[in-house]
């Protein structure tokens, strides 16, 4: 079936089997390889993307339900030349080791920081509860997410002053 997907602000027309999970379409059809295939069972979180502001596990998300919805992948957070605040913070804190889980971690964090730029450790842990990391970089990931929140607030601050 033909379906129109809005990914990172761009519209893509794809022709896929309607029973396909979103992850396969992102990776195979759109060649957005940020979201990873880990377990394929919605248990490890490496496939996490953001749909309409909420973190979802794309390996168990039916692509047939995604028409008209706003999908963001890690590629939508910034570019190599101009990394976004989460990407900047993850680099600054050297939060990746093997890096396989990181796009999923960043997307869960993105959904969290969009709602709340000063999350408590408990809130970060809860938001990333379903993201697994086998390398054990959790403490750096936590630090990077707190740092990203700071960067987002700093970026927002001058415009608020102008507005005031």
């Amino acid at each position: 079936m033909a379906i129109s997907l809005n990914v990172n602000g761009e519209t893509h027309e794809v022709d896929v089997d309607p029973a396909t999970p979103l992850l396969y379409v992102l990776r195979n059809d759109l060649e957005l390889n940020g979201a990873k295939f880990g377990c394929g069972l919605g248990q490890c979180g490496s496939c996490t993307v953001v749909v309409d502001g909420a973190a979802v596990l794309s390996c168990v998300t039916p692509v047939s339900l995604m028409e008209g919805r706003e999908i963001t992948t890690v590629e939508g957070l910034g570019t190599i030349e101009e990394p976004g605040p989460l990407q900047t913070a993850f680099i600054e804190m050297q939060a990746a080791q093997c890096g396989y889980c990181i796009p999923g971690m960043m997307m869960s964090a993105h959904a969290l920081l969009t709602r709340n730029q000063q999350p408590s450790d408990r809130e970060i842990r809860d938001a990333l509860m379903t993201n697994l990391c086998r390398c054990g970089t959790h403490m750096r990931i936590m630090a990077a997410i707190r740092r990203a929140g700071e960067l987002m607030q700093q970026a927002a601050a001058p415009s608020e002053r102008r507005a005031g």
């Binding site: 079936m1 089997d17 309607p18 029973a19 396909t20 999970p21 394929g40 069972l41 919605g42 248990q43 749909v51 309409d52 909420a54 973190a55 979802v56 596990l57 390996c59 168990v60 998300t61 039916p62 692509v63 047939s64 339900l65 028409e67 809860d126 938001a127 509860m129 379903t130």
Partner: protein, 467 residues
């Protein structure tokens, strides 16, 4: 003259009724005592009390998740208003530190606090009244050796007349069958031990028996199915909706491990129960299973044959998933069950028609009590909120689909699952049920498989409720 006489007669009658009610409702205060010295209780007695407190699941209601154990303050929504659990730590001022053992025994037996006030039956004394003096002594020893916590729970939020405790005397007159458990001499010792634990401290019937409009369990529908914290507590008598009938072995395994290969994992408030029962010796678990299996009775021939068939199918390996039909997938278009089949194929089949065994694999839905139950609430809860992971240990998990599936999507998916994996009639009003559950209008408590409560704030169940 005559009028005055009638008036006098009525007044006297009212007075007699009032005095009678007062006599019925009045309970004396039991004198406060100095807090018991923790070292005065033997280690064995305290250990026994710990196991009994686990059977009673005391901690579940008397603790706010993340706060000190047994300090109370948890809000318990009831059809009559909200009740807050009390502090049962040995703090003398805000807890039960100045309660004598006699006062504790009376609270368990009659539902009256030390000062003589009637307690609301949210504290399940209609079950705890069955507990022996000896076991109450052990419970008292256990509680008096906990860390005292200074904490006063919030006031109850109950409208008139439910805020008047003396009316509870009337409730007790009607519904409280007071007194310790009486063994049935026709049954085995094991059966009697199980009945004592299940009917007394275990208070299985508090959730698994339906309640009447006065909030009392309907004793003539014993174990006929009720509800707890937003979950259906299935019938555990002859009406059990489990596709594979339970027996003593499967019940004992499930209560011991929190899952069973033909029934899946315990979740919702039952996860707390199976988590707590971990403290019990095998003999007590088997005793409870023996008793509950006897209440369920032997399945009839047709049910047994159907179960054999389902188990044989499941043993053949991964089941075939109905091929996703080529349909218009926009909500409202096409046959809802075809839409449901499509959602099932991409969201559910990977685990639920996979080859991973329980408890980490998805249960085959033909074996699922949730899909075969008369009320779809539990499967709605699990689809929307999933089964969150336990802390620091491998546990059964399931992703939450609330952010992926609309109310209509969930309804179509469940209609498909009901059609495909159950012989029972289709569920009605699914969209409305899903919407009320998602918004928090119908409150659901979410627990991971180890039963350590940490929802609902972190799994989004309360998002809508606060808006």
């Amino acid at each position: 003259m005559r009028f005055t006489r009638i008036l006098a007669a009525v007044l006297i009658l009212i007075l007699i009724v009032a005095v009678g009610f007062f006599a019925l409702a009045w309970r004396s205060e039991i004198k406060p005592v100095a807090a018991a010295d923790p070292s005065s209780f033997s280690e064995d007695l305290v250990q026994q009390g710990a196991r009994l407190a686990a059977v009673g699941n005391c901690i579940a209601c008397h603790t706010v998740p993340g706060q000190p154990a047994f300090a109370g303050g948890l809000a318990l929504p009831t059809p009559f208003g909200t009740i807050h659990s009390t502090n049962i730590t040995p703090d003398p001022e805000t807890g039960i530190g100045n309660w004598s053992e006699e006062a504790f025994q009376r609270a368990m037996r009659e539902g009256v606090d030390r000062e003589g006030r009637h307690l609301y039956p949210a504290f399940p004394y209609d079950h705890y009244t069955r507990v022996t003096d000896e076991d109450n002594r052990a419970l008292y020893a256990f509680l008096m050796t906990r860390e005292p916590v200074r904490s006063t729970p919030p006031e109850n939020d109950l409208p008139f007349p439910y805020n008047l405790r003396p009316i509870l005397a009337g409730w007790k007159l009607l519904f409280l069958d007071k007194g310790p458990f009486q063994p049935d001499t026709a049954q085995s010792e094991e059966w009697n031990r199980g009945a004592y634990l299940a009917e007394g401290l275990g208070h299985c019937g508090a959730c698994h028996t339906p309640r009447n409009r006065f909030g009392a369990v309907e004793s003539d529908r014993h174990f006929g199915g009720g509800e707890a914290e937003g979950w259906q507590a299935y019938a555990i008598n002859a009406n059990s909706p489990a596709p594979i009938p339970w027996d003593t072995d499967s019940l004992a395994f499930y209560l011991r491990n929190g899952w069973h290969q033909w029934h899946g994992v315990s979740r919702g408030p039952m996860a707390e129960v199976t988590g707590n029962l971990g403290l019990l010796p095998d003999s007590d678990i088997v005793a409870i299973a023996t008793y509950v299996a006897s209440v369920m009775g032997e399945p009839d021939e047709a049910r047994r044959a159907r179960a054999e068939e389902l188990m044989a199918q499941a043993a053949e390996g991964p089941g075939e998933v109905q091929a996703a039909p080529a349909v218009d997938t926009q909500a409202g278009a096409g046959n809802p069950q075809d839409r449901g089949a499509l959602i099932y194929a991409s969201a559910c089949a990977g685990c639920h028609n996979g080859s991973k065994p329980q408890p980490f694999g998805g249960l085959r839905f033909s074996l699922s009590t949730a899909v075969n139950a008369p009320n779809p609430q539990n499967i709605v809860n699990v689809v929307l909120f999933g089964l969150p992971p336990s802390d620091g240990q491998a546990s059964a998990v399931m992703p939450a689909f609330a952010n992926v599936l609309s109310d209509q999507d969930v309804a179509d998916l469940l209609a498909h699952m009901r059609e495909q994996y159950s012989d029972a009639p289709a569920w009605e009003n699914l969209v409305d049920l899903v919407a009320r559950t998602r918004s928090g209008e119908y409150k659901v408590v979410i627990l991971p498989a180890d039963g350590i409560e940490r929802g609902p704030e972190n799994v989004g169940a309360s998002d809508g409720a606060e808006e």
